[in-house]
């Protein structure tokens, strides 16, 4: 008896719709674990750098020996331009230049200057790991110089011992030359784009998607769909009406969500650096493009949802159908948070581009760096995707599928009824 009940309960509860979210969560954990694992590996790898010693003094020798020992030096010469070219070509992180009079300045109780030319490739959370290691390398060189200073002269100025060098930083990031900022500071400043925007877009897509799929489920559950389909209105208008209505509901929900979330995120931001000072501000045209990108991506997501919604049998099954949208939105948001579009493998880049709602997640950062082709390409792709999905949805609305479910299932049902009646 108990076995019978257990069997029934298991069959009722162990369904695809209950299994998929758990599998997805497991995959996300696996993905995050792999990310963290690769962070650990990156931390252990020696950073690839170039060095130019134009001083040749005691302290520059000390610094150079630290750099050579603890980093993979791909250029060690006297031509800064040649060194920079080599670092760029070999995917290096930075070129460290020790100018003339470096040691002399330190002997004169002044911090010596180290010129750092950073090559920044992405603004994702994981993209600044290698630059962080170089910063740690410079810190190690500082410690060695401090040790030497104390050994040579115990009465040396404590302030100099604590900070024997200063940095003059230039960051090259996607064609822009940004003076006075390191990749970690720049990455931090762009952090809001890396975190807030993907999360808000993700929530917008999920919330609006739930609205449209639920609407389809409710139409079937409340038995209103048949009436709607016999009214004198074009099927394409029904599809578009549902998409736009759900987009409005989703946007209202996302605005409410965004207000709370941006307030939460702003509590972590302590940087008072103004991006506009570094040519990284957006103009009106850029904001317009971001808006268009978001709108078109929302339409693309919702048009995909309405196609999925046609499979809903009722409100409950509609909730399970939102899963593919949630998965795609979360995966794209996670990838964009952790890595920059340009720093991920090509296969992943194609996958990310193919997800239409990943584009507004990347748009703001891309526009800051004048990468218009990615944004405009994304808008065009999402528009084509939307048109294709609407065409598929209208085709389904014009077919029997919406009312009869899959033909095979119906056929089987028909045979069952037929057999029963016979």
């Amino acid at each position: 008896m108990i076995r019978n009940i257990v069997k029934k309960e298991f069959k009722e509860l162990f369904t695809i719709s209950t299994l998929l979210p758990i599998v997805f969560v497991a995959l996300v954990f696996g993905f995050v674990g792999q990310m963290i694992g690769s962070v650990g590996e990156s931390m252990q790898e020696k950073p690839v750098i170039g060095v130019v010693d134009m001083d040749g003094g005691d302290f520059s020798d000390t610094a150079m020996s630290v750099f050579i020992e603890r980093a993979e030096v791909i250029y060690n010469g006297s031509d800064a331009e040649e060194g920079l070219r080599k670092v760029r070509e070999d995917n290096g992180v930075a070129l460290l230049v020790i100018p003339e009079n470096f040691s002399q300045k330190i002997y004169a109780n002044q911090p010596g200057e180290i010129e750092i030319y950073w090559i920044m490739r992405g603004a994702g959370m994981m993209d600044s790991i290698s630059s962080g290691i170089v910063e740690w390398l410079i810190q190690a060189a500082n410690q060695e110089i401090s040790r030497k200073l104390i050994q040579q002269d115990s009465s040396v100025d404590p302030a100099l011992v604590l900070n024997p060098t200063t940095r003059i930083e230039t960051t090259f990031f996607k064609g822009k030359e940004i003076q006075g900022l390191s990749p970690s500071v720049l990455g931090g400043m762009l952090g809001s784009q890396s975190t807030v925007i993907p999360v808000v877009v993700m929530m917008l897509i999920i919330l609006a998607g739930v609205s449209v799929i639920s609407s389809m489920g409710l139409e079937k559950e409340n038995k209103t769909l048949e009436t709607l389909l016999t009214l004198p209105v074009r099927r394409s208008h029904i599809v578009i009406g549902k998409i736009v209505g759900s987009a409005l509901v989703g946007m209202i929900m996302a605005i409410i969500y965004m207000l709370g979330f941006s307030r939460y995120m702003s509590s972590f931001q302590i940087s008072d650096v103004n991006l506009a000072d570094f040519g990284l501000a957006l103009g009106m045209q850029d904001y317009l493009l971001v808006g268009i990108s978001l709108f078109v991506a929302l339409l693309a997501g919702l048009s995909l949802c309405i196609v999925l919604g046609t499979f809903a049998k009722n409100y409950r099954s509609a909730q399970a159908l939102i899963f593919p949208i949630t998965a795609l939105a979360m995966i794209s948001a996670f990838i964009i948070m952790f890595k920059d579009f340009d720093t991920i493998p090509v296969v992943l880049r194609v996958f990310l581009f193919a997800i239409p709602f990943s584009h507004p997640m990347m748009a703001m950062r891309a526009l800051m760096l004048d990468n218009y082709s990615l944004v405009i390409g994304g808008i065009a792709y999402a528009a084509v995707f939307t048109a294709a999905m609407i065409a598929v949805a209208v085709r389904i609305f014009n077919s029997d599928r919406l009312l009869t479910g899959s033909v095979q299932k119906r056929a089987a049902l028909g045979k069952l009824v037929w057999g029963f009646r016979r």
């Binding site: 048949e226 009436t227 016999t230 004198p232 009869t404 119906r410 056929a411 045979k415």
Partner: protein, 238 residues
């Protein structure tokens, strides 16, 4: 004039043939009933005429408009009441009628339709309550009101009195009759054969996707030497 002309209609669901070559005509201004047991194919026929399902083979014309080519034109002159139809739960009864009327006209025309819908539904003050709070009978009356308020040339009613108590069922039948008196044509289905006998001008008996007999109630009873349509149906399918 022919309101509906169905010729050799075949409808397949995958490999299952639900309708097996049905032909019948509905004259303008009459109430035509399709009767038969559950699963006989009544709803499939009505859904196909109501432009919801594709035709596998055969032809259908509604007031001269051919399906599926002129489905848009057909939708302008028909009104379909599905068997288990519902209304939008978060709308009030009046809002629902208003929503539907806007597809058929604007301004005064729309308002007149809503007024007619309110009269037919006859829900009193409850028309301003959300549909979610309605009983099954109230919802059905609202839906009958919705279906007939637009003055359709052809009303397609699938089991119009399904699930209603005697009082509500009688009221719905009265509404259907008065609608026809006002010029509409009604094609309805029912498995309640006695009801159809008293309501319909002509009847088609349908079983296993085929029409087994058709005519007026009197003709069918005479043909099968039966006391009522139910008995005629049983004799017809033997």
């Amino acid at each position: 004039m022919k309101a509906v002309e169905v010729r050799e209609l075949v409808k397949d669901y995958g490999s299952f043939r639900a309708i097996k070559g049905i032909s019948f005509e509905v004259k303008a201004g009459e109430i035509f009933g399709l009767i038969g047991p559950n699963g006989a194919g009544k709803t499939t026929v009505l859904r196909t005429i109501a432009t919801l399902l594709q035709i596998t083979s055969g032809s259908i014309t509604v007031f001269g408009y051919e399906l599926p080519k002129e489905a848009g034109a057909v939708r302008k002159i028909i009104s379909y009441l599905p068997e288990e139809a519902g209304a939008y739960r978060n709308l009030t009864g009046k809002e629902y009628l208003n929503f539907i009327a806007k597809f058929f006209g604007e301004g005064e025309k729309c308002q007149n339709m809503v007024r007619r819908g309110l009269e037919i539904a006859n829900l009193g003050e409850r028309i301003n309550d959300k549909v979610d709070t309605y009983s099954k009978g109230m919802t059905r009356r609202l839906l009958v009101g919705r279906a007939l308020m637009v003055d359709p040339r052809l009303a397609i009613l699938d089991e119009p009195t399904s699930g209603l108590d005697v009082i509500n069922a009688q009221e719905v039948r009265r509404i259907i009759n008065s609608s026809v008196e006002a010029g509409a044509t009604v094609l309805l289905s029912s498995h309640n054969m006695l009801e159809v006998e008293f309501l319909c001008h002509r009847i088609a008996l349908i079983d296993d996707g085929r029409i087994v007999a058709s005519g007026t109630a009197a003709e069918l009873k005479e043909e099968y030497d039966a006391r009522n349509i139910e008995e005629a149906f049983v004799k017809a399918i033997r």
